[in-house]
Amino acid sequence: MSSLHADLCGIPLAHPLVNGSGTLDALAAGTLGLAAFVTKTVTLNPRAGNPPPRIAETPSGMVNSIGLANPGLERFCADHLPRLGELGVPVVVSVGGWSHDEYAEAVRRVSADPATAAVELNVSCPNVETGCISIGTDPDETRALVELCRSLTDLPVFAKLSPSVADVAVIATAAAEGGADGLVLVNTVRGIAIHRDTLRPLLGGGGGGLSGPAIKPVALHAVHASYAATGLPIVGMGGLANTQDCIEMLAAGATAVGLGTALFRDPGLPSRIVAELPSELGRRGFPDVAAVRGIAHQIDTEAQPELDGLQR
């Protein structure tokens, strides 16, 4: 049986499973057995979110347009954060904004609370017109924002990146140059759902973000490329739905793995993966989670003949 312990930028995790930002309200539903809790992105001012419909089922996934609904920094810090501190797992606070100053204010405020273990900079939300997403599509903006936020806190700073860019490794590199301690990959992929009868956009916000198994290869690629480019610790997520998916994500270069849309349909999933993971890693000869990390990058000629058998 292999050890599941993981170290994420100095944050000890009982196992490598966390949630993706915005895919769990731990105050409403508990932590579902996850090793850390990542909050829904909080912004300086409260946001009501986008008008419904906000979700649409699509092949092997869904498109959402929630629009960063959140109570705002003030109420989050006064009301939510103290209660999140009692969950018994490290709390990563995800912050967003429409200017560098807004991010800076959020980073300062949430870092001052002992409940916060790390800060995630959401520079990749697809459901707002400006701000978050536009920063994460520009390497210079990303570098500058990370640099600013890095200087404002002693906690680990993660950059949450979008796969909807020409070359995610360029953005990942910029985040690393700005001093990011780690990366979170990927946010949802930009998408749109069309109503089958009206032939108009189905979601109230127009476009949205695609998630679920449909985007797993996109996520694996983004993590693979960003690991190769930066070597930074990575929380890998995007369409992971079972134990095998999580192992593949670790192999692509992730230090920890995030579950998101899969939690919606199956809140019992984290506990089942945590139960299966030790024997699955052991069966493959891995002593612990760290031993799997990045193994997809090794060119292993010894293993080829066996795999090539089918192709000959």
């Binding site: 769990l24 009501a48 419904p52 649409a56 996934g61 929630i66 939690l263 019992g268």
Partner: protein
């Protein structure tokens, strides 16, 4: 608050006019109260539908949990032919049953949750139902053989208006325009009214923020605040 999750065997599936009655063998799942809901997905999971479907029970006890389903897409179609169904719940807030007489109002597939409510509120009840066709109206027999049934284009608010002012509580489930009309009628006559509302949900337990409805004037999660709401909380939003 741990989420309860079970895979339940299908006891029987039968056509009730235009709708499909899905009866699951209960295997120790707590059933909650009328108006709460469950997330249902065929087990094993269907290839064509990724998300579970949020449905309130037609009735439920320690032996069986029944759902009246309007089979529309891949998810509900898979439920109708499943031999097992994965069930998470009960979720959300159900009806707060008040003592005294009651009027149950249902529109279309909204009637699906009324059989259990009818049994729970007892004999001092009247039932008003509206459907788009005779085939859809056949399910009225599951609720109350003496129900007043109207068919499109007649609206349920017509017979309901003739009953006003009702001494007691109005409980309603149906499409949004019907619920708003029922709520407005009740408000006009100072009759307490509870609405079981509907919204597309991915999770059903507060995680996805997908089921936003204007409640108390702002977008709130229906799965957390409802799905049954005191009518004033919805009317205030308009």
């Amino acid at each position: 608050m741990p989420l309860r999750e079970r895979s339940l065997g299908v006891q029987r599936v039968e056509q009730v006019g235009a709708y499909t009655l899905l009866v699951l063998r209960n295997d120790g799942l707590e059933v909650g109260v009328p108006g709460q809901f469950f997330m249902l997905q065929a087990d094993p999971e269907p290839a064509a539908a990724y998300l579970p479907r949020a449905l309130s029970a037609a009735w439920a006890d320690e032996r069986e949990i029944a759902f009246l389903v309007d089979v529309l897409g891949a998810g509900t179609a898979a439920l109708a032919v499943a031999s097992r169904v994965r069930v998470v719940g009960p979720l959300g807030a159900g009806f707060a049953i008040q003592p005294g007489p009651s009027v149950l109002v249902g529109g279309g597939i909204g009637a699906a949750i009324l059989p259990w409510l009818a049994r729970t509120v007892g004999e001092q009840r009247r039932v008003v139902l509206g459907f788009r066709s005779e085939a859809h109206a056949i399910c009225a027999a599951l609720i109350d053989p003496e129900a007043t049934v109207v068919l499109d284009p007649v609206l349920v608010t017509e017979p309901l208006a003739r009953m006003m002012p009702v001494a007691g509580t109005v409980y309603a489930c149906g499409p949004d325009p019907m619920l708003h009309a029922v709520a407005a009628l009740c408000a006009e006559h100072h009759v307490p009214c509870q609405l079981a509302m509907e919204a597309a949900m991915a999770c059903g337990y507060g995680a996805c923020y997908g089921c936003a409805v204007k409640i108390d004037g702002v977008w709130k999660r229906l799965c957390v605040e409802g799905p049954v709401l005191e009518a004033g909380r919805v009317l205030a939003a308009r």
